[in-house]
Symmetry: C2
């Protein structure tokens, strides 16, 4: 996501400039082969190892860590180990998720496993995670949240994977509540860890639990928007094939909300989904029916509700955190 | 490895009895699907989730942690979080290594990925690692070594994988020194973490650095013996296909030592390896030539040298650690 011109963009660039040298230093200890894969995964180089200042990803999580530390009056530098750790965990999770989901594209490029093979990509992911843990191994006040986020991540990813094998309708259908729990873990845990580690390293560990909860809410909002972009976003901008989620029975919020709403459009949608048809025509029709049944509007409303809940906590804990607030809001109001 | 009747067997059983409830409790928080895979990976149940008190693995690492804590006068219970963490990391590494190495068998059963698929097994491995980290997240004095072991593990595994693409002879050949560094990381790091976390949690963090070094030496000895069992061990006992390593150009110590020795047998061995032949006859001949060139004897000698170095450190740091000493020695003097 290019936030340079959006709200919070200046802060993102400033934080990235602060964090990137430490991130590069962390990765530099790896075996040359691992370092090459890590550099590709982090968007620093192309598949052959040539420098590539491309779309290195959002750098949102490190920025949240740094801005959270500043918001409690700490120096930005204090948050750097936490910022590096959350960015490494994010890169780890993308590397492994793309293997698990068999996704071939990431940020307009080949996925790591597609470029280097499943075994090497798996191992590179493990290396990124090991480096992340090492950043905070002796900072228990922040490690606590990184560790919680790791568990939430795998639990959320497992739930998401298990959802794919469950039916769209009937007593075993996935509920909106189950989705919310999954998204809070899969997407919210690491955002929460970024904020909690940031305030803890910045000198206010007493605020960390609330910032952790804030991040989980923010994650649900973020994931719902991500689901919407997967259905109605421009693949040229998102860098992912359109309707991918619909094709693979991924239980996304808009579709779950549409089905829960009932009515004729929801019934037609359920029929298409139950048929298992995943040709272009069927998935386009499913996307249209999802909106018609109210799934798109409900997704937007729920994303805003969760964002507002996250911002409420932030306003209470960190009333002067203007940049952090703008950054978090921009995650939910985005085009890709 | 069934050590019940071997030296150190009583200690293993005692430690396992102490640690297993905590290990089961750790795993119990997982998503049911993840918990099922974890129970299979840890040897507690069969592929369908039915209880299975089979070969649950060696439990060597948790025993080292517990015995190390006791050796510095701490209560055995103090070491339990460390013991659980190292056992979970061990299970994580086996789950991922079997994917990376495409190994279909583990402990006389299907490998985790073979039983549940690559994606789920990868994720189950991640879950085991996340649980491991959570055990020590707020115990920096032990986390420090677990974290170092994680980095050593992935570095060693990466090096091992990179070795497979290098030639057996010529200027780019893998040297015995490179092998030793790889084995110290891949196998020694976690043994070192077990011992270091054990003494740190047992109340003697000042001994942890030396126990970490002890574990790395022990790991080299252990890995060399493992390599020997892979070539000359009984597959009925090891639970792995014989000559697997030779077939896939894995750079094992006995073969590297044989090639380094020179002489006619070494030259014949090099010729077979260079030909890429991996039929039963060729690998059997390669195994025979490895012994003939002195690779087996050199492997035995080097394993003993590294064990003796590890035991030397132990005798200095923990002169009364009879059980721990016997357990470590038994790792190198084993049939499988």
């Amino acid at each position: 996501m290019n936030l340079s011109h959006a709200s919070g963009g200046g802060a993102i660039v400033r934080c990235r400039t602060l964090v990137e040298p430490a991130l590069r230093e962390a990765v530099s200890v790896l075996h040359p082969w691992g370092a090459k894969m890590a550099a590709f995964a982090l968007g620093w180089s192309d598949v052959d190892g040539r420098p590539d200042r491309g779309d290195g990803g959002k750098s949102v999580r490190p920025a949240i860590a740094v801005l959270s530390a500043e918001a409690v009056g700490g120096p930005a530098e204090a948050a750097v180990p936490g910022a590096v750790a959350v960015e490494l965990v994010h890169a780890f999770s993308l590397a492994h998720d793309d293997i698990i989901d068999n996704d071939e594209l990431r940020r307009h490029r080949e996925a790591l496993w597609k470029a280097y093979g499943v075994g090497p990509a798996l191992l590179a992911g493990d290396a990124l995670l090991a480096l992340a843990v090492s950043r905070l191994a002796e900072r228990p006040e922040a490690m606590k949240y990184l560790s919680a986020a790791l568990i939430e991540l795998v639990q959320g990813q497992t739930a998401d994977m298990a959802f794919e094998n469950r039916p769209w309708t009937g007593p075993a259908q996935v509920t909106v509540d189950e989705y919310t729990e999954m998204a809070a873990g899969k997407t919210g845990g690491l955002l929460g860890a970024a904020a909690a580690a940031g305030v803890a390293l910045g000198g206010a560990p007493e605020l960390a639990d609330r910032m952790w909860a804030m991040g989980r809410d923010l994650g649900v909002a973020f994931q719902i928007v991500d689901d919407m972009l997967g259905i109605w976003g421009d693949p040229v901008i998102t860098g992912k094939p359109v309707h991918n989620d619909l094709r693979r029975d991924k239980k996304t919020f808009p579709v779950l909300a549409a089905l829960a709403a009932g009515g004729p459009a929801a019934r037609d949608l359920a029929a298409i989904l139950a048929s298992g048809a995943n040709d272009d025509d069927s998935v386009r029709r499913a996307a249209r029916l999802t909106a018609e049944a109210g799934g798109r509007a409900e997704a937007q409303a729920q994303a805003e509700r969760h964002l507002s809940s996250a911002l409420g906590v932030m306003d209470e804990c960190l009333p002067d955190a203007t940049e952090l607030r703008a950054l978090c809001a921009s995650l939910v109001n985005r085009a890709h």
